[in-house]
Every structure is written in C-alpha cells, then in structure tokens.
C-alpha cells in the first residue's frame, strides 16, 4: 500500500581497532604518543585495582562490589577527553573514569566497604557525582547539571553513563526526552556489556541496537566498539564538541562485555557459558590496545614491566591507606540529615550516644 515516507533514520557503527589489534588507519584519531600511553596507563591501573579489590573482597576485607574488568576502554578515554569543568555522572561501573577525573583510589575502597567517606572528594570541584545505585536516576541528574551549566554560562558538558539494562528504566526515557527538548549539553553513554545481572541484552529489549533508542528523541546516536579506546575517543570528542556548540545531546552505545561476575555476590555460571566468556576475553580492550601501541612502536615488554610495578604499588599504597585506622565517627549520620538544627534529630543524637556509652560499658 503506497504510503508517504515522512522520516528516515539510520544507525552507524564505529570500530577503529579491531579485536586483533588491527587498525583501520583511515579512521585513526590524531592522538600523540603521550596521549595514547596515558590511556593505556590508566587502563592498567583500573584493571589492577579491580583485580585487587576482588581479592580483598574474597578475603573478607572489602564489601560487595561490581567489577569493572573489560570495560576500561569506555570511561577512561571519555574522562580523558572531558574538561575539568565538565560533569562526570556515573552509574557504578566507571572505575577507570573516576580515577582519571581525580578520585583517589581509596574512595572506591571506602565506598564499597560501607563508608560514606568514599563519596567525599578531596575537592568538590572535581565534578564527579557519586555512584547512582538506583539505576536510571543519574540520567536525569546529568540533564539537570547540563541545563544548569548552560544557564550559568559555563560551557561545560555533563557526561552520563548507564548500562544496557538501565535503558529499560523510565528515567532513561524521561531524561533523554528532556535533554533533547532542552537541547542540553549532555552526552549519554550506554555501556552495553551484554548483561544485566542474568538478563542477556537481547531479552532486555527487542531493538537491534541500543543506539537506535536515540531516534525516539531525534538525538544523534552512534554504536561503537566499546573495547576500542580509539573509537571511544573519536565518539566522545565528537559528542562533547556537539554539546559545546549548543547542538544538544548525543547517545553513544559502547558495545563491550562484562567479563566478571555482576557483583561479587553473583555467580555467572548460573546463566551463561564459560565458552561465551572465553570468546569475550579474546576481545578485551587491554590486549588489543597493547598490541596497537607495540605496532606503533610506542610500547614493548620492557616498558610493560615497570608499569605493572608502578600500578601495583599505587594500589598497594591505597590499600594500606584504606586499611589504616580511621577516626571516623559512628554518629556522623546525625550531623548530615539536614543542614539546619532540629530538636528531634538532636534528641535522637543524644540517645544514640547514650546507647554507645551503655554498650561500651557492657563490653
């Protein structure tokens, strides 16, 4: 039946460095040796911290946490491309990006060991929003931050991360719609790691790509190989640029794989095959980036060893500091319910201190 076609859309895919470390030279971004090595160093550090955290957790020295291994090529190039004044709005699987932004290694350790102190930045101006455990909420925060930065004439961009599972939440939709209605300077990055706990990507949503969800709002969208730091660099640079030029939001789907368990409380054997994991490991980002750097003559095994030592030492120092005695008070929560004094809180605070005293007495 002849109908009038009134709109046409397409989704593009970008990969520059394939899983074998093979480069599509036509697409290679102009990054200096230093810039490339910086990406690599951060990736190594994030991987090292992640692996160490897993050990700490298994030893009962750390609480439950969501490992980030395999997703380093996403948040790290993103954070490196961002300016200081930009806002970093994470979900909970952006360890590398957080480190790049200047969050101390210890913050993550404190946070996942049950201490609010992990959210307190050395400097508020780092513009990192704490982890958003309640999935999807952060999308709207990013839009609000972006709107505010334009209102204040700051020319800064909010960059927001979410998982493939998170795209099913209503807040994802509402946030993207507001962003495009407001032409807000914001970039949405979906870390499509194929899984939301036990739910595979293809059951999460029936769409062929996540990127095409941008079409619903006329938001420019792009799917990239999320294990390819070069593609990520190109995509984020373009998106930040678009935002800064006042052209509004971008949606980037970064296709990657959650190589480890969802969190340390999870057992992926219940729902996926080791075969699948093995295949995914072959595509992981550090391997291919290492090969690329070697191919370019920027790297060799002789350099790798000291780097490994360096990141190990950094992590070791952080763990030491993490496990050093703290004078953190148990009654802090009473001080931060409100920014003003209230009799009810004051009275309960007194009760609380009474409990503590009594319980100390009784041993």
């Amino acid at each position: 039946m002849p109908r009038k076609q009134i709109a046409k859309f397409s989704v593009q895919h970008l990969q520059i460095l394939d899983e074998n470390g093979k480069l599509d030279a036509k697409l290679e971004p102009k990054l200096s040796e230093d810039e490339l090595l910086e990406i690599y160093r951060w990736m190594r550090l994030a991987r090292e911290l992640d692996e160490r955290m897993l050990k700490l957790q298994r030893q009962g020295r750390l609480g439950t946490f969501p490992p980030n291994t395999g997703q380093e090529a996403i948040s790290i190039p993103v954070a490196l491309a961002m300016q200081d004044k930009d806002w970093f709005v994470g979900a909970f699987r952006e360890l590398g990006g957080r480190l790049v932004r200047g969050e101390p290694l210890t913050s993550t350790l404190y946070y996942y060991n049950g201490w609010e102190e992990g959210n307190i930045l050395p400097n508020k101006d780092l513009r990192i929003i704490p982890t958003s455990v309640v999935i999807g909420c952060q999308v709207e925060h990013a839009v609000g931050l972006a709107w505010a930065s334009r209102y204040k004439g700051e020319d800064s961009v909010a960059v927001c991360f979410i998982g493939d599972g998170g795209t099913s939440e209503g807040d994802f939709h509402e946030g993207l719609n507001f962003a495009s209605a407001w032409k807000a300077p914001v970039v949405f990055i979906v870390q499509n790691n194929q899984w939301a706990i036990s739910m595979p990507r293809q059951s999460q949503t029936a769409s062929g790509t996540i990127a095409q969800k941008g079409i619903a709002y006329d938001i420019p969208c792009l799917q990239i190989d999320g294990n390819d730091p070069l593609a990520m660099h190109v995509a984020i640079t373009e998106a930040l640029d678009r935002a800064r030029k006042g052209e509004g939001p971008t949606l980037i789907e970064a296709v990657t794989y959650r190589l480890m368990m969802h969190t340390t409380a999870d057992d992926p054997k219940k729902y996926r095959s080791e075969e699948e994991e093995k295949v995914a490991w072959k595509k992981e980002p550090l391997l291919r980036f290492n090969k690329y750097l070697k191919d370019k003559g920027f790297w060799d095994d002789a350099k790798e060893e000291p780097l490994r030592g360096e990141v190990k030492a950094k992590v070791e120092d952080a763990v030491k500091e993490f496990e050093s005695p703290k004078d953190w008070q148990q009654d802090d929560p009473f001080k931060h319910v409100f920014g003003t004094e209230h009799a009810v809180i004051a009275e309960q605070h007194k009760d609380f201190l009474g409990n503590v005293e009594r319980e100390a007495d009784h041993g």
């Binding site: 930045l121 309640v134 909420c137 709207e140 609000g144 505010a148 807040d171 209605a181 003003t340």
Partner: protein
Amino acid sequence: MAKLNMVQAINLALHQEMANDKDVIVLGQDVGVDGGVFRLTEGLLEEFGTGRVLDTPLAESAIIGTSIGMALAGLKPVCEMQFSGFSYLMMGQFEAHATRMRARTHGQLTVPMVIRMPFGGGVRALEHHSESREATYAHLPGAKVVTPSGPRNARALLVAAIRDPDPVVFMEPKHSYRAFREEVPDKEEVMPLGKAQVVQEGTELTLVSWGAMMRPTVKAAAQVEKERGTSIEIIDLLTISPLDSDTVVESVTRTGRCVVVQEAPRSFGVSSEITARINDKAFLYLEAPVKRLTGFDVVTPYFGREKSYLPNASRVAHAIEETLNF
C-alpha cells in the same frame, strides 16, 4: 500590605524570591505560559523569561531528577507537581537522591530544592486529585515537609523553604487556595521551618492541626468555647517534618487533653506520630487519651461522596466534647 488569597501569596513569594536570587528557577508542567493550572506561577514567565521559568514535558520523575541535577550545580529549583496525586511517580528520585545526597557526602553535595504540590480534598476534583499524604513524605529522613494553612504563612514559609539548604516538600492545601484572604505584607516575611505556631492560647484542651483542616478546627474550637466556655489552645503545625513536638507537648502538659485533626486516612498518619510523641513526653499529664479525628482508612472516594469523608467542624467539635467528657 494587601489582602491576598493563598494563590496570590504564594505567587508573591515566588516573584520576590526569583527577583532576589538568580539561582532560583521555576519548573513544572504548565507553569510558564499558562501560569500553572491553579495560577500559582502566573506572571513569572513574563517577568523572568523562558530562561528561568520552564514549561517541562509531562514527566514527574524527570522534573525532580533534573531539578536534583540543577541543585547539585548550585541552583535552587522550585518545581511543581501539578497535583500531589502524581507525585508518587517521582518517589524513586526523591527518596534515592534528593533526601540522601547530603548524608552520603557528609554535606559536600547538597540538594536545595522545593517541590510544591497542591494536596487534599474539598474542591470536587477528579480522582487522584484529592489525596492527603503528607505522612508518606514525612517518613523519609532528609526530607522536610511543610504545609501552610493560610496566605500569610504560605508566603513566609515558602520563602524559608526556598532558602533552606535541603529538599522541602511544600504541600499546599488546595482547598484553601482561594477560600479566604489575609493581609500579607509587601515586605519580605520569613517564618522558620520546623516550628509549630500556637494560634490561640488556652488551658483546657490542646487542638492540633495543619493545612486545610485548620479552618474547621478553629471553627469547632470557637463553637465549643461558646457552648461550654472551654478554653482551648490551638496549634498549627506548619511543618510536618521535622515535627515540632515540643510545642505540642508543652501545651498538653498544661491542658492535659488533646485532639489532633487530620484530613488523611487515620492509620500511619501524622496524628499517630503526634499521639506517640505526647505519649512519650506528656504521659503523666494526660487526663484523656489523645483523640485522632481523621479521615478514614478507605480509598479516597470520588467527589460525590467526598464531603461525608472529610473531617468537618461538627466532627471536630464532637471529638473535643468526647475528650472533655472522658
């Protein structure tokens, strides 16, 4: 000084605070061109422009979510839920982030914002437009909940709410929007949050209420005073959370009797908390049980039956008598 109704008084507060502070932003459904479905935000768009008065798409969670983002960036969003009945769609954002950001960062990041919402019955509105659920928000640590009862305190409390460093749910009793006028000074007036107000002193019974229920409450007190000569103290809560029980308790230690009037369903409501606080602190002074005169634990009826379900002066008077006669 002008005689204003509550709509005008709130509008005045918004105008003045926006003029005072460039960080104050107003957003919500139909708050701009239309001036709000109840006309609360009228004239703001004309005065402050589309840069500061935002007509948002139809999504409650995003209104609060983006406001949280704005607040984190240092702005002071004042957002409107068109009716409190739609506010449950933003409970996730509110509970997870607005109320917690201060605590989880030990004050490094804060969310100063105001969520205005008309609530309560009595205006023959459609379903979902007449509920009274202040207790739902009051039970969330980190949230302040404020309910003005008249034009003057509405204006002064809203100013305080906007200047408060924390998220405030500002629940406007829509039944009182245009029900009466009061002198409202042109000059700035601010009332502290977290303080109840003794609106009439008395010695024989303490009558506590808030929001739209203040009117039948005051009327009933006058009636009983006239009929029996009873001296009744009347307290207007103004802030629901953090609740100023000291004022109530102090009063009850003098009067020995208390009636709490609440529009919301009885169970798990604000009057239960007040009763519990009196029980805690004034137990030995009580000469009768605290009486909760409240709405019923039924699904809010449509407006054909609404009147039968709202507490009214006659029921309040009856509750007072029962308590006096106990």
